[in-house]
């Protein structure tokens, strides 16, 4: 990711990926609610309907189950599709189709049928939307054999990963963060693809490893900046895709620093943070100097009250505080 060049936001980066790919591949059809003339609840399809029309941007009624099944069925029959659940929460309405049909079909058909469908949804807390509109769920998808799971944390990654998703032979869950749509960075206009399974070292460091996904990457980076002031050098890693997972790059970092803190917006039990701690224990047992830590949202439904929600979700302060504690605890080896 370069520091120089054209700066655009996350929403527009997604639109750009889609526009490129829909031009390149005339079979792509995009299905969802309000994604046509309206241009998407998050402006995530703005302008596309003008170019591609009703046939390729298909607004549906409120029927995620049916619409997701339609997207999967079309994909099974040879039409590449995107099903936009808009809020990832609404993927629950359709998860039976996602898990039982899309994720299983390649295996069940002995590889004879593929379902090239991108399941798109925006997750996480945004402006106190409350319990029904703030779920994360990526760990559920990561627990589903047959699904790839992509968590772009910035516009550059979103564009490159979305394009890769739109060329993948099977179902890909592309999970954006609702609070990132206005995040900006440099994004080349030229074509580039980001391969799945390559973690990004957001910043290098030597004292500890911070792994964070999606919006938490921003928090981890800010925490690292604070820590740097205090003389603690944190390496920040963004897995970018959690299936497939770049286990190598992550464990290399942990082995190097000997310390791991994972920041994860999901509730902790059986979360992706738990997975990373498990991996650290399995692969970096000898190198870990202190117990690995995870910082998750508190295990409560997202409260509406700003006071309560701020308390619930990981913050820069909480990350810095945990790192302080961790740095104080004595290293296992000298």
């Amino acid at each position: 990711m370069s520091e120089q060049g054209r700066v655009i936001n996350y929403g527009d980066a997604g639109v750009e990926a889609l526009r490129d790919e829909m031009r390149r591949d005339p079979s792509i059809v995009y299905i969802g609610q309000g994604i046509g003339p309206r241009g998407g609840n998050f402006r995530q399809t703005r302008g596309l309907w003008k170019e591609f029309g009703d046939d390729r941007l298909r607004d549906t009624g409120i029927c995620e189950l049916g619409a997701t099944g339609v997207a999967i069925g079309a994909a099974m029959a040879g039409t590449r599709t995107v099903i936009d659940e808009v809020f990832l929460d609404f993927a629950l309405e359709a998860i039976t189709q996602i898990v039982q049909q899309a994720a299983n079909i390649s295996y069940m058909s002995n590889g004879k049928i593929k379902a090239p469908v991108v399941i798109r949804g925006a997750m996480g807390a945004v402006r106190n939307a409350g319990a029904h509109h703030s779920h994360t769920f990526y760990n559920w998808f990561a627990n589903t054999p047959g699904l790839k799971v992509v968590l772009p944390s910035n516009p550059y990654d979103l564009k490159g990963l979305f394009k890769t998703a739109l060329r993948d032979p099977g179902p890909v869950a592309l999970i954006e963060h609702k609070s990132l749509y206005n995040a900006k960075c440099v994004v080349p206009e030229e074509e580039y693809l980001i391969p799945f399974g390559e973690a990004r070292i957001v910043r290098e460091g030597k004292d500890l490893t911070l792994v964070a996904m999606s919006r938490m990457v921003d928090l981890a980076t800010k925490a690292a900046a604070v820590l740097e002031q205090e003389g603690v050098s944190a390496e920040v890693i963004d897995p970018r895709t959690i299936v497939p997972l770049d286990r190598q790059r992550i464990t290399d970092s942990i082995k190097k620093t000997g310390r791991l803190v994972v920041i994860d917006e999901s509730p902790s039990s059986c979360s992706f943070a738990a997975e990373l701690l498990a991996i650290a224990a399995e692969d970096c047992f000898d190198e870990l100097q202190v117990p690995p830590q995870r910082i998750n949202s508190l295990p409560v439904p997202n409260p509406f009250s700003p006071v309560l929600e701020n308390q619930m979700i990981p913050s820069v302060e909480r990350i810095v505080g945990e790192v302080h504690k961790m740095m104080k605890s004595s290293r296992r080896k000298a």
């Binding site: 409120i62 402006r127 439904p301 409260p303 509406f304 009250s305």
Partner: protein, 326 residues
């Protein structure tokens, strides 16, 4: 709407009560809009402006123990069911004194003590829930009736289909009230389905379906009255389709202009339920202008009081975040 009939159908006193309730719902939303636009309220709000006659017409038939399940556009249902303006507004403000102690907000607001079983952030979800509450009422033989509000958007969802079928086959004391305001967000109902008559869909499930002018509080009251009565007498569920319209955007922030013509909005504003009721009171001699002004002021004071109450109320304590999970 025939005024001659109206006066025969309802006493001036009752109509004045409806009028005040209609106005309360209207002024409440106008105030919420103002507060929201001024950045005072967190979250997202969907306003009920224009649709008041549905909530008031239906809920004026209910007793406190009767239950209402509502939607994302639910402030009006809460107020019509008798939840005090104070605790509704305090909830929208995220305050500890709100009906959910600030944990819920606009789309997750509960006041079971008033028979209000919640607004809901998930379209369609309240329909099975209400059906279940009706099952509970039926089994306990407590003569409770359950009303479920939902929009035209919910009609194409599996929740509607599965729940209404269950309500019908089990003959439950539930009234399904569809607020057909022609749009789900920007999606016109006639783009979402080939059959735009919601009432006609009752046939698919073998229960009665009725269509009614949702801007006419008396008409809504009467249709709902029959349905609620039948439900209470173990006569089974009814599907009511109220033709209505929202005068505002889908949610605050949506201008609501690009998918609707100005003409269409204007035409519906001719059928403003608050104005209709007011005019009827005047025309029929049921109330005079000064009586109505007094009524208006009473409602305005109610709203002002709610604002003061909510504004002054404390935020929830940060360390209460883990309470009430189980």
């Amino acid at each position: 709407m025939s005024e001659r009939l109206v006066t025969e159908r309802i006493s001036p006193e009752l109509l004045l009560t409806y009028y005040k309730k209609l106005l309360e719902l209207r002024l409440f939303e106008v105030k919420v809009q103002e507060l929201y636009r001024n950045g005072r309220l967190p979250g997202f709000v969907h306003l009920y402006v224009g649709e008041e006659a549905v909530a008031v017409g239906v809920c004026s038939n209910l007793e406190t123990p009767d239950l209402v399940f509502s939607t994302h556009r639910g402030h009006g249902h809460a107020l019509a069911k008798g939840v005090p303006t104070r605790i509704v507004l305090a909830e929208l403000w995220g305050k500890a004194t709100g009906s959910s102690g600030g944990r819920g907000g606009s789309m997750h607001m509960y006041a079971p003590e008033y028979g209000f079983m919640g607004t809901n952030g998930i379209v369609g979800a309240p329909i099975p829930l209400a059906t279940g509450a009706a099952l509970s009422a039926k089994l306990r033989k407590n003569h409770q009736v359950v009303v479920c509000f939902f929009g035209d958007g919910a009609v194409n969802s599996g929740s509607f289909h599965e729940a209404v079928n269950m309500g019908a086959v089990w003959n439950l004391p539930v009234v399904y009230v569809c607020e057909n305001n022609l749009y789900a967000t920007e999606m016109a109902f006639l783009r979402a389905t080939k059959n735009t008559s919601v009432a006609s869909r009752a046939a698919a499930y073998g229960l009665p379906g009725v269509e009614v002018d949702g801007q006419d509080v008396i008409a809504v009251h009467e249709v709902a009255s029959q349905a609620i009565h039948r439900a209470r007498e173990d006569g089974g569920p009814t599907l009511i389709e109220c033709k209505t319209y929202r005068y505002v955007g889908h949610h605050e922030g949506d201008p609501g202009t690009d998918y609707r013509t100005r003409d269409e909005v204007q035409q519906w504003k001719q059928k403003d339920p608050v104005k209709i009721a007011r005019k009827l009171l005047l025309d029929s001699g049921g109330s005079n202008e000064s009586q109505l002004q007094a009524a208006d002021q009473e409602v305005e004071r109610l709203i002002d009081d709610a604002v003061e109450f909510a504004e002054k109320s404390p935020e929830p304590a940060a360390d209460s975040v883990n309470d009430h999970v189980f």
